[in-house]
Structures are given as C-alpha cells and as structure tokens.
Subunit: 503 residues, 2 copies
Amino acid sequence: MAKKQKSFRPKARVPKGLRDRRARDVRTEREVLVRVQRLYELYGFEPLATSAFEYADALGKFLPDAERPNEGVFSFQDDDEQWLSLRYDLTAPLARFVAENYDGLSKPFRRYAAGPVWRNEKPGPGRYREFTQIDADTVGTPLMAADAEMIMLAADCMEAIGLERGDYVIRFNNRKVLDGVLETIGVDTGAGDVQRLTILRAIDKLDRLGVEGVRLLLGKGRKDESGDFTEGANLANAQIDSLIAFVEAGAGSDEETLAALRGLVGDSAVGLEGIAELSGIQKLLEAAGYDETRARLDPSLVRGLGYYTGPVYEADLTFEIKNDEGQIVRFGSVGGGGRYDGLVERFKGTQVPATGFSVGVSRLVAALEAKGQLAASTSRTPVVVLALDGERIADSQKMVQELRDAGLAAEMYLGGAGMRAQMKYADKRGAPIAVIEGEDERAKGEVTLKDLVLGAKLSQDIEDNKAWREDQPAQIAVKRGQLVAEVRKMLARHEPAMGARHE
Amino acid sequence: MAKKQKSFRPKARVPKGLRDRRARDVRTEREVLVRVQRLYELYGFEPLATSAFEYADALGKFLPDAERPNEGVFSFQDDDEQWLSLRYDLTAPLARFVAENYDGLSKPFRRYAAGPVWRNEKPGPGRYREFTQIDADTVGTPLMAADAEMIMLAADCMEAIGLERGDYVIRFNNRKVLDGVLETIGVDTGAGDVQRLTILRAIDKLDRLGVEGVRLLLGKGRKDESGDFTEGANLANAQIDSLIAFVEAGAGSDEETLAALRGLVGDSAVGLEGIAELSGIQKLLEAAGYDETRARLDPSLVRGLGYYTGPVYEADLTFEIKNDEGQIVRFGSVGGGGRYDGLVERFKGTQVPATGFSVGVSRLVAALEAKGQLAASTSRTPVVVLALDGERIADSQKMVQELRDAGLAAEMYLGGAGMRAQMKYADKRGAPIAVIEGEDERAKGEVTLKDLVLGAKLSQDIEDNKAWREDQPAQIAVKRGQLVAEVRKMLARHEPAMGARHE
C-alpha cells in the first residue's frame, strides 16, 4: 500500500448547538411526522417541499430576537454574490412560493410541509439551532373560518399523536385587540414600530417572568439575575396598568373574556375588529364541539414572530415534567401559528390573506419521551445470526436471508471476533434472539436459538419458578429447516407484535 | 389600520439550482423513503440523524470536482469564527459521529440515515444543488461479507421500490485492482496523488464520453463541444492501452472478468489483494442466489468520491427513457457506495474499516416518475364541501368534520367566491366529490353529492351509454344523515381504495 504522509487530524465534534439523534429519537420523530401528515391530509392539505435555503431578501427579518436581527439566520454568499439564508421557518418560504406561482395555484391554496429549520441563536439546555417543524397553511382567504379550522387542526393534532384530552390546550388571541388597547392608551401601532415590538416581546415573556417582570419590561426596563439589563418600552404607569389588565383578562370563560376586552379597546376600530374576529372564531369552535378545555381565548398570548397580523394561536402541553434543573414545570408550547396577511404582499404588492399552524416536532418528541409515550411502539431490533466459521459465512448469510424473506429483521455478525464477543454484541445491540450454528449443531442438522430477552429476565431473577424455566428454556436446539418458524415462535413469547411482519 | 411606508419589494424566485417539489413528487419521495427504510430495518440497520451542517474540517475534501475543491460545499462562519459546511453526503458526518462516540458503540456499528445533502456545483438540467439520500453503512469490519451484503441490499432496494428484475443491475469493482494495474504500468498510487485522481475521473466518464473520450483524458487532454479544454493525465500510449484493457475487461462472466484482471495486475500485491476481495464477494453473491443479472463485476466502475479504498458499487437502472433533449438514453445510476477504511482514521489515527451504500432518492423518484410507477398509489385529494351561505358556515364545517372522523379526506371551501367559482375550485383541486347544501336541499333535509370523476368522464364522452349514465348519475341528492355512507359509496365507484380509510 502507498505511504501516508502525516497530516492534520481534525477533532471529531458535533457543531455548537446541534446534536446527533439516535434510533429512539429518530423513530419517535418519524412516528409523530407520519401521524401529523395523515391528519393534515385528512384535512385536505397537500404536501409541498421547498429547499433548505432561500435568497436572504425573500425570507425577510421577522425573528423575535430584536438584538440580533441579522444574526438570527445562517447566511452565505453564492458565487454570483447573492446572499442565501437557511430557512428559519416554513412560512416565509411558502410566501415566496405562492408569490412566485400565484396564477397557477387554486385559491385558497392549502399546503403542508415538513422539515428542518435553522436559527442562529445562542444554544442552551434543550435549545438547539436545528429543529423540525410540520406546518399546514391556507393561503388566499380572509375568513375567520380558516383560522378556526387551524385551531381545530391544532387540537386534533395533539390527539393524533396520542395525547389525552386535558394534556393540552390550544390558546388563541388576536393581535388587533392588543393594537386596539395600544391605540386607547396612546401608543403608535404602525407596522414595524419599535415600541410596539418591545411591548409584544415583553408580554410574550409573561410565562417566564411573571406579571412583575412584564411590568418592568413595559416600563423602565429589567435587570436579570446575571446583571444584564434589558431596556423597557418606557410606558407610563397608567398605560402599563391597562396592558396588564388586558393580559389578565382571560381568567374566566371565553364569553367573559370577550366582554372584558370590549371594555379595554374603547372605540378603537382595529380593536373592535379584533374582538369581532375572536367572537367569530369562538362561535365556530363552539358549534364544532371544541370546548374550552381544548381551545380557549387567552389575551396574554402574543407569539414572537413579527409577521402576524390578526389571530394567533399556540398549542401548550399542560402536564408537568422535570426541567433540566430538576424543577417541576409545565411543558409549555409545542407549536403555534397565526394569520399573516402581509407576507405574500411583500413580494406582490397586493394583499394575499393567509393563516397557518406549525408543530414544533422536536419539542413534541421531547414531550412524548418525557411522558414515556410512542417509544415502545417504534423500537425493534434485529435477530443476530452468529458467524463462527469464516469458511461457512455463506451459510450464516443464508439464514439471515431466510429470516428477512419472512419479514423478520435479522443481521449476521460481521466483526472479526469470537463466540463470546459475538454474544456480547448481540446483547448490547438489544437483539431478541441469537442464532448459533456451531460444528456440533451442523452435524445434527440443527441450529441453537438463544432467547436473549428471557435470558436477561432469568439472570435478573434467580428465584425464578423452575417449572416455568423448563417450560420456556432460554436456549433451544431446533431443526435447521424450522429456523423461521421457531424464531417466530420465540419472538411471540415476549411481544406478539415482535413476531409479526415488519411494517 | 396603521399606514404602511413604501418599502423594498423583493422578487419571489427559487434560488439557482434549487426547486420546489409539488404534491406528487413529495408523495413519491416519501413512498421511496418508507420502502427503503423498511428494508434497511429488515437488514438490522438502526436509524441515526446528524445535523445539516458540520465543522468544515470534519467533512474533508472528497468531492469529485477537482477544479473547485473548496467550492463543492456551501460554507459559512459561526460567531466564534469557526467554519461550518452543509453536508455534501451522509458518509462524512457518519465518520465524524463514529469517531466522536467510538467507545460507546457496539461494533460493527450498523446505521442508516436519510435526508437532504447539498453540493455547491454548477446546476444543469436535472442537476440540482439539493437532493435526498438514504444510506446504510456498516462500520468496524474489514470482512468482504459486509461489502457483499451492501451489494445484496442495493439489489433488494431496487425491488423494494417496485422495479422489476432486469430493470436494474448492481455493478461492483475494487479500487485496489485499478491501483494494481497502475503499479504495473508505473504510475504512483499514493493516497491523494493528483495523477491517480485524474485517471479515476477520466475512467468515471466512460459512460458519457466513450472509450475515445477517456483515451484523450488519459493522454494529453480533451476539448469538449463548447471548446473548454480539460487537462489529461499525460500517460504514454502503452499505459493507456493497459488501462483501456482493464476498463473493457468486464464483457464476459464474472469468472472470465476475474481471469482477465489477474493478467493485468501482474505481481502487484495490492492488485492481487483487490482480486481476492472481488472473488470473495462474487462467491458470497453466488451462494446467496444473486446472479449476474442482478449484480455483476465491472472493471470500468470507479465512483467519483475520493475516500473509497476498496470495493465500490453502483446501482444502475437499465431501462431507457427520453432525456431532456429528447434522446433515448439508459437512465443510469441511482445510488452507489463502497468501502472507506480511512475516513474514521482521519479523526482517530487508527484504522476503522467501513463500507456503505447510498440511494440517490431524488434520482430514483425521477426514474419512477419516468416509468409511471408509484404515483397512482400515493395520490389522494379531498372531498370538497361547498360553503354557499356565510351565515351557515358552521353547518358546512360540521359535514367536513363527519367525513374526517370517518377517515375520509375532506375540506370546506374557504374562499370568498360564489357557487360557480367554488365548483371550479373543486375541479382544479382534483376533488373526487363536491358536497352541496343549498337552501332547497336544507329544507328537505338533504345534500347534493356531485361525482366529479364521473362528471369529467361524461363530459369527455358524449356518446356515453345512456342507461349506464342513469344508473350512475353524476349528481345525486341524499339524506343529510347518510352523508358519510353515500360519499363512501360514490368514492368506491372509481377506485375501491379511495373509499377506504386513510392510512
């Protein structure tokens, strides 16, 4: 062989804020995607896939991180000097697609999309820079029926992935109502106004900082535990009181909340429009049987993204889990969305009203794993056929092939090690069965099946019932011709599904 | 509402070399992935997902584009100045993962992975800068049984996605044999040697340029139709003759090919090692019943990527299609792979032998669509419920809900238009049925179902059998309470599967 020159040796490390996902996570995510997809198709949404990156100007700057508007995305330059950015959500690329293909689309255009998105943010515990979303959107309708449908879809979604009623709630609100309140207290609500964005972001932090924290952010500003100071919206106390009253208006039933909001928006036209929209949504939800345990109006909901123009909604998981610091917390948001009537207009100049819902799949996977759900149904490991004799490797291969042809996951041990190491491999691999054809067995036309699941149980429980042990021995010799049937029988001992065909 | 300032209006356009994929393409790709995944799991590979980008030094420079080694990937700098690159395949990230987690993995480590990869190459017809791969790899074994398994997997893969035997062939070869031939003709085969790479790439172009083109590239160089000159490997005529003899040695049976190769490598140790490996693979394939119509030795196969160290293999589709210029051509490669014993070593310093196979899913989808396969089984469109009366939208919503609860894809028309436009929408959408509840129907407790599939047929065929038309009218009134049952019956007229539950 050729000589190798001594060369640079890179350090193997996963990039900052990214992660590798092993079998269990991948399978759970896949199961979530399959179930949500099925639901979206049932609702009549069609799949569409856009690419991972877009021209930077097409994506726009709508991320909630006001401090680093340019750094929220990953960007690079093409060889023709144009800037490209990795998508930070699936909505902005949809707006580009609709604007580009507008005339050829049937309107309303209903599509769903799934895939990774990337955010160039400071990573933290449970906060990654790549995560998976699956979205459904209806583009080209101003009707509140479309928003109500999104809220129903969000609720159905939570149940489709196996959550119980009561484990989640879809909260909804309308940005126009907040704009109405701002109008009555004398704050400019012009699009892109910095003070309005600061107020939105302050309210968005209610869950994390509580009412007192939000009060500070609406006023002079707030210093956090680390000593960092966040500049506030500099509102007067009376203004702050009105906003807090707005935020806290959702304690009662939706009817009561609507009444309270009517008192807060005064004569503001946009505020009244928002309330009429909320009332329309609420009526449709009620008629369709989605009661307030599943979907309810919550004025404190604002959502972080800058492009929402009307109704917004969020799917929250209400059960409690331990967070990374060992504290018991409610799991919180696993998805959300809203109406974005201006996003296609950015390209076309004319308004194309649209609304959509996005599931944060990676968050949902974490929630399901915290609850111990979905995992069992998605894990399978192969039967391992030992390869003890290098000269007879084709015989082992033949057995593997027979098992696979019967729909049973199987593999031949492909390393160079001996019997003990091969058994250790099968164990570590979580294989349910090891198949052994040594010289003695071959002479008798037999193979040995070792039940590794039972073996593990027996070694845990020495006091085990002897009769049962004899009845179901952990190791049996079977006729070579009966390999598939006997493996199937052994798999069925533990889990009926394991002996079934792979789907 | 707030005033909008007149602002920059970006042009909506998909970036160069990328594309949007509509429902049919997305569904076909999903079906391919599901089938290949199922096969990989049957073989005992476990899923692993790594992120879209890696530190640039971890990916290394193994792309076939010698002229633009740095430009083959998309790269950007993190805020800590480190360079990140979008992955160009799924193998280099696997090598990084294995090196990073080596001690905790059971060896051999068998994983599969699926996802998009990106190449910063000049786009062309059918050549995109983002495409989907699904790979299976076995890491930690030097045994040829692992390579033989990859070849079997490749063949099974083609059949799993619905291709007939004879529509594909898996070709395999071994880079060591080429190195042996190079040794006998006096060419340095050191790793990374520029002349060797130029020779590899010349041979890799055999399909496209024919023997004469390859001769030029092995010699002084070649000018293409556009006048661009590609520098050659500058070999002497006798050397070129030997290489062409090598490339053309695969005309007969595998046994004959092996005999011819033995004559070409002389006493070269590496060449003889390569032949022994090929012979080992060939014996295992034969014993497992994979005959030469499914997998055969082909010395002209080299594969483009720089990291292969031994056996290489490629899945080729043998049927003919029309290319973009209207010429009849063989479809060609839809996947490939090989052994890369040095890729993990780059990080660890010690050799970790590995081999793997990658399916080019996007290419395969194009092939299946060219053949008209898989599409039918994956397309479904929803029943459209018209919404004729804004006041009664909750009634339409109720019907949609009943259909969905019964597992039938359905949607309510959500635009603002009248009856005619709603019917046009349902048609354009490809809906099988439109459900109409007008005032008259409501008074009688009925709804009208319009069979749009039959309607389209009838309007095509005016001479249609009148009796049959009366027997299966395109439009019927049914009791509101019978909605689901009647929709199901109408769907079943055309395709039994359409009436079945969504899966």
